[in-house]
């Protein structure tokens, strides 16, 4: 089948318009959620529950990711650096790599996989089993009760996870450095501490907060807009994880440009 020029333009335009409309809906949803963030009532119990679910329960997976990444990073930097006699920079590059990039990005992606999926599945199931309607009939705004606590918890706890991941990742590099690469333990740690600047860590924490917000936003948005049935909830879960992951990578580039471009 061949498309006439107007037909081809229409075929191209439709998905573009649909994508722009979807972006618009997400932005409006985020603005609505942020508006509710500042107005009572506040559901403290839901917030604390979300802190445990999103923050504390993600610690093992973020920690495991960080320690292996830090170790592999040390090996790679050592191998690469040895090509021009720069093996000594392993501590510094592991530290800066973990704090600025790998800590927040990998931490964010792991949280996206774990948390965006669980939020979307939970809220999606609540929607298809009429629990969201039940909330409304009980004079409770689902945006305030379900969305705001999760957004706030993710925005506050992901930076803490990133900080912990940074420390564990650097420790992974140190462990590999002293056991496999013949670094002196004290020198490795001294070089790490002396090299790192506040903004190396601070920028990663800001990224963590943005990524946390995006993860919870995608989980809530796709859960709330889940279609009916198990297939609808499954599709919402998948869409939440994919959207959160892509947004994390995209925003990571934008924030890196913003923070570090000359």
């Amino acid at each position: 089948m061949t498309l006439s020029p107007p037909g081809a333009l229409a075929a191209l335009g439709r998905p573009v318009l649909a994508a722009l409309a979807a972006v618009g809906r997400v932005v409006l949803y985020a603005a609505l959620a942020l508006g509710h963030l500042l107005r009572p009532p506040f559901y403290t119990r839901e917030f604390l529950h979300s802190v445990m679910q999103i923050g504390w329960n993600s610690l093992p997976v973020v920690g495991m990711t960080a320690i292996f990444t830090g170790g592999a990073l040390a090996l790679q930097i050592y191998a690469g650096g040895s090509r021009f006699n720069a093996e000594a920079v392993v501590p510094q590059i592991v530290a800066i790599g973990m704090a600025r990039e790998l800590g927040p990005v990998l931490g964010g992606l792991m949280v996206a996989a774990r948390v965006a999926s669980s939020i979307a599945a939970e809220i999606g199931t609540m929607k298809v089993t009429e629990q969201i309607d039940a909330l409304v009939t009980l004079s409770t705004n689902p945006m305030k009760y379900l969305v705001v606590p999760r957004l706030l918890a993710a925005t506050l706890t992901v930076p803490a996870l990133v900080a912990t991941g940074d420390a564990i990742g650097i420790m992974g590099g140190w462990l590999v450095g002293i056991t496999r690469l013949d670094f002196n333990s004290a020198t490795y740690l001294k070089n790490t501490v002396e090299f790192l600047e506040f903004w190396d860590i601070g920028s990663g924490l800001v990224k963590g907060a943005v990524f946390g917000f995006l993860v919870a936003l995608m989980g809530c948005y796709h859960g709330m807009n889940s279609a009916r049935g198990a297939q609808g909830v499954g599709a919402a879960t998948k869409a939440a994880v994919v959207a959160a992951s892509v947004l994390i990578l995209g925003f990571n580039y934008v924030l890196t440009e913003l923070f570090f471009s000359a």
Binding site: P41, Y43, H49, Q131, A134, V136, T137, L138, S139, T140
Partner: protein, 248 residues
């Protein structure tokens, strides 16, 4: 009193409600019957504001529901959902006392729990059930908990969405009896949607039949049995032949 005047609602090209006119007098139990997919649940959700109707008016004691302040408006309602719609993450008593633990009707936790246990007792559930989670209950028990939640804040108006769906005949009878007793003792206005004729006879003061997006017929239970309306007769006797197509 709830009045619906010319209420229309469409989802895309599917015109579900096409000018519904219905009056539910205060303190009466109205049951809406009709086949699956005729818009009974949509009608109920339009009254509650869960679904926005396209045109027409819905009045509660003469006041337009779309212009009412949402929280005080919803505080006058209790609703039993078809599947119970209990919150999985909360214990049974927290589900029942939900309205009493948040918002304008908030009470101290111990008082809310006491009221919840009292309401559970009212629907025939032992206090030990209070600390279980909904997933630990049978379908019939979940319906009872949903009923306890619907009446927890002593609402003026109670909606029941397919209250006996999925229950065995004995449990369905128990739920019907409970609904009738509770509506009578609370003096509440009740609106039930169902296609279970045993429920209709047990619960209803008046019956309305929704078909083709319109209220086809209204009357008392006694009138329902004697009306010559072929739609009502086909429906209440469950006949495949008649003006309502059996393949929809």
């Amino acid at each position: 009193m709830i009045e619906l005047i010319g209420v229309h609602k469409a989802f895309g090209r599917n015109r579900v409600l096409q000018g519904v006119d219905l009056t539910i007098p205060g303190g009466q139990s109205m049951v809406i019957i009709g086949g699956s997919g005729t818009g009974k649940s949509v009608l109920l959700k339009c009254i509650l504001g869960l679904v926005r109707h396209d045109t027409g008016k819905i009045l509660l004691n003469g006041q337009d529901v779309t212009k009412a302040d949402r929280d005080p408006f919803l505080a006058r309602f209790g609703m039993l959902f078809q599947g119970g719609a209990l919150f999985d993450s909360l214990r049974v008593w927290e589900n029942v006392a939900f309205r009493l633990m948040h918002g304008a009707l908030k009470r101290p936790k111990t008082e809310a729990r006491e009221i919840a246990i009292e309401k559970l007792r009212r629907v025939g559930l032992a206090p030990e059930v209070a600390d279980l989670y909904p997933a630990e209950l049978s379908g019939g028990m979940q319906k009872r908990v949903g009923l306890a939640r619907a009446i927890a804040a002593s609402p003026e108006i109670i909606f029941f969405d397919e209250p006996t769906t999925g229950l065995d005949p004995i449990m369905a009878g128990v739920i019907n009896e409970l609904i009738r007793e509770i509506v009578t003792e609370m003096g509440a206005t009740a609106m039930t949607i169902t296609h279970d004729m045993t429920s209709v006879r047990a619960i209803a003061d008046r019956v309305a039949m929704l078909h083709g997006g319109l209220i086809r017929w209204t009357g008392t239970v006694a009138e329902m049995d004697t009306t010559p309306d072929p739609y009502v007769q086909q429906f209440i006797h469950g006949r495949a032949e008649g003006p309502i197509p059996s393949v929809r």
